[in-house]
């Protein structure tokens, strides 16, 4: 209430109330007797829970070596060792792209030293508490306390050194992330983790291949990480930092160019990464020459002529009619046996033709060029997916573990995006049948749990598909999750579309834009920008939902953690280690979703303040 006092302009604000631990405690924990009782109870709960947790984690009987020994299994499952560079390359590309994006768009913002100092001191306090409560030897306790003191001291120093500027946002978030990454790299080089070993005739064997089949007492030993893990991470983080710093030093003009390049790069990165990870196609030149070269040349010529014709300014409606007919043809093509590449090219050509009258005209030459490039790229991707892979793998899909989880989540979200947008447009359309169809789809899909859709994909899809089309387990899961997530996405996008004032549409109409042009240039860009936080929320939900594929028998991260590792008995036995692996899985999932939810919150704040 003190701030309600009426003061003349020039009078100084009253001194802030005095600070101190005692006063803070009084205000925040013991303001009333009831609150005091509550605080004491809560403190007891914290101590009890923390102690229980620490006792659980540091119990010598815990099999944390089940996690460390199986780390590669958990991450990439049966991915061949000599192809691991592909995984590292993919991770590297993502990290460097992220760093460049962050630098170019200046994402991150600034923190107040006061906040940083507070967080560090709280962290130090927490670690000190853990050191005291945990079941540690005297030396270990001292070590914990030293770490705590260093953290708290750094925090204290940050607060003191910045002095007057403690409340100004002067510490860049990216610098803190950089420091954390540096610390991670350092830890990777000095960390020792428990690994299993067998004592056979007095010799300690830790190598799995060697230990297989041998009998002996199983023990745990502490070892540092192997170079195959810590070296790639170090290099990748160094490259990321390099990318970040160099982009920051670019001129404004170079950054503007980079921004223009980065968006298509991200779009292209997705299929490229999938290709790097999953495909090393065997180049069957005969097949390629007969089918693919023919397809590319044929479709380029035919498509080029059609597109050139329909995109002339005078051919408006005829173009749309031709596009509609091509669309029918493309649908029909899925019912008859023919190489997949024809079907996809037909579909793409139909979409191009439909778009032609709207976006053609002066730019018809670039439209034809775009078509030829699309046809070639599309054929290449169909070729690489349809031909055998040169990567020597057991089974027909070898990616598993966390990488499968990530691939599932991102493939589904990327694929569900266009479908969701179309459904949202349908649901907000003025045309009653489109509205009806979209509404039925959205409500039907959202009304039934994802697991039933996954079961539908696994129980029913195989029998409903035309002969000659087979869809593997992973693709079925991706399909089910795509259709599911599209319905939710549609509802989010609908929110954005409805938030656009009607005047925007009227203005577009008054300028003579067609419906498609209005959607592409005016309503959708605004709607999507408005729902970005909700879309990130959708990504989080879908990422968590990928765990459901374990029920239909895919070897995703959770399945390995819950069913595979706790059932291992050779070369080392991890029978019954399910709690350890589940906790590890929970932590990994948590780190991903928590990061995303924080990003979403920041975006919400940023967009809420509005750059308009």
């Amino acid at each position: 209430m003190s701030d309600m006092a009426v003061a003349p302009d020039l009078e100084l604000a009253p001194e802030p109330p005095p600070k101190g631990l005692r006063i803070w405690l009084r205000d925040n924990l013991f303001s009333t007797p009831a609150s005091g009782v509550l605080s004491v109870a809560a403190i007891l709960v914290v101590i009890f829970a923390l102690r229980g947790l620490l006792n659980f984690i540091f119990d010598p009987l815990r099999r944390w070596d089940a996690v460390t020994y199986n780390m590669r299994l958990l991450m990439v499952q049966a991915y061949p060792t000599d192809a691991m560079w592909r995984v590292w390359l993919a991770v590297g590309i993502v990290v460097v792209l992220l760093a460049a994006t962050f630098a170019a768009w200046r994402i991150g913002g600034m923190l107040e030293p006061r906040q940083v100092s507070k967080t560090l001191m709280a962290l130090g306090g927490g670690i000190a508490l853990a050191g005291i409560l945990g079941p540690f030897s005297a030396t270990a306790t001292v070590l914990w306390l030293v770490v705590a003191a260093v953290l708290a001291g750094t925090g204290f120093a940050t607060g003191r050194l910045t002095g007057d500027r403690a409340k100004d946002p002067i510490i860049p978030v990216m610098a803190i992330i950089g420091i954390i990454l540096l610390l991670i790299v350092v830890v990777l080089w000095i960390l020792k983790v428990p690994v299993p070993g067998k004592i056979v005739e007095g010799n300690l064997i830790t190598d799995g291949a060697e230990a297989a089949g041998l009998r002996g007492e199983q023990v745990k030993v502490l070892r540092s990480l192997s170079n195959t893990t810590r070296m790639p991470w170090t290099i990748i983080f160094a490259l990321g930092a390099l990318a970040f710093v160099s982009v920051r030093m670019f001129s404004a003009r170079a950054v503007a160019t980079l921004k223009r390049v980065l968006v298509p790069t991200w779009v292209a990165a997705f299929p490229v990464l999938v290709l790097i990870l999953l495909r090393d196609p065997v180049w069957r030149w005969g097949n390629f020459g007969s089918v693919y070269v023919g397809a590319i040349v044929g479709f380029s010529v035919v498509g080029g002529v059609i597109l050139w014709f329909v995109s002339r300014p005078s051919t408006g409606e005829i173009g749309r009619v031709i596009g509609g007919l091509l669309l029918v043809l493309a649908f029909v093509s899925f019912l008859f046996p023919m190489p997949f590449v024809f079907r996809f090219l037909m579909l793409a050509l139909a979409l191009f033709t439909l778009a032609g009258p709207t976006f053609g005209g002066e730019t018809s030459r670039s439209l034809v060029t775009a078509w030829v490039v699309t046809a070639a790229v599309l054929s290449f991707f169909v070729f690489t997916t349809a031909s055998e892979s040169g990567i020597d793998v057991p089974g027909n899909f070898f990616l598993g573990g966390l990488s499968l989880t990530i691939v599932l989540a991102f493939t589904s979200i990327v694929l569900s995006f266009p479908l969701g947008v179309i459904l949202a447009l349908g649901r907000t359309s003025t045309m009653p049948l489109f509205r009806l169809m979209s509404t039925v789809y959205i409500e039907l899909v959202r009304g039934v749990p994802l697991i039933t859709w996954l079961l539908v994909a696994f129980l029913m899809l195989p029998v409903a598909l035309p002969q000659g089309i087979e869809i593997g387990g992973v693709m079925r899961a991706v399909g089910a999750m795509t259709f599911f997530s599209a319905a939710y996405l549609a509802e989010n996008v609908r929110g954005g579309l409805q938030s656009i004032p009607g005047g925007q549409r009227e203005a577009a109409r008054a300028l003579g834009m067609s419906t498609v042009q209005m959607i592409v240039f005016i309503t959708l860009p605004q709607a999507l920008r408005a729902v970005i936080p909700a879309l990130v929320g959708q990504v989080i939900a879908l990422f968590k939902d990928t765990s459901l594929v374990t029920i239909v028998g895919l070897f995703d991260f959770l399945h390995l953690a819950r069913a595979v590792i706790p059932a291992q008995s050779q070369p080392f036995s991890f029978l019954g280690s399910i709690k350890e692996t589940l906790i590890f899985a929970a932590i990994v999932y948590w780190m991903f979703t928590f990061t995303f939810s924080r990003i979403s919150q920041r975006l919400e704040k940023k967009l809420g303040v509005g750059e308009r």
């Binding site: 409606e317 005209g361 005047g503 009227e506 203005a507 109409r509 300028l511 003579g512």
Partner: protein, 254 residues
Amino acid sequence: MENEQRSTRTLGDPIVITDGVKKWFGDFQALKGVTATVREREVVVIIGPSGSGKSTYIRCINRLEAHQEGTIIVDGTELTNDIKNIEKIRSEVGMVFQQFNLFPHLTVLDNITLAPQWVRKQPKAETEEYAMELLERVGIPEQADKYPGQLSGGQQQRVAIARSLAMKPRIMLFDEPTSALDPEMIKEVLDVMKELAHGGMTMMVVTHEMGFAREVADRVMFFDYGTIVEEGTPEHFFTNPQHDRTKLFLSQIL
């Protein structure tokens, strides 16, 4: 001097013809048979109380609303369900709204060049050049790279006018262009409109700015209850109104 301004224009052939236009919103009849003709280079100011159908009328002329009975012929093309005619007419009739309705996610320049580029299918460079020319005309060339949110209301409305002009329309419709503006910004918009009228643009303006009507209009129409109650030259209209409704309205507003 005002009369001189007007007299420099010679009116051409009829360009907008409406005959018995009727329009219902559900059970509410907004237009009850409006018959009027606007000639080339003519400036028509439409006034009337709110809800009288004047906005609906000009929105029917570029078919933001579809009329249900009667005929509307714009530049020799009848407005029907024919999408080709609708597209043609919309690109020949510019419209300026009360709420500006600029596209907030595009820069001022992009706002102006978007439609010529994709609807008129003109090359980008050409549209940008013309857009800069238009921005000069409305007096804010320095704002080209800003976003609408960074401009004042008056500036936004001037951009909206430039955006419509970029399509090289033959007719401009103004739907209460100054109603959402602060008094000091009204003048800058009206000046642009006056200059436009001076340049020979055919204009239909719904407004409450009686000064503008007196000074620029060739003809004033008074709307009430979905019909044209009275029309005539400004001199005649403001000094010697015939109809009781008109007298009442003018006595309230002047």
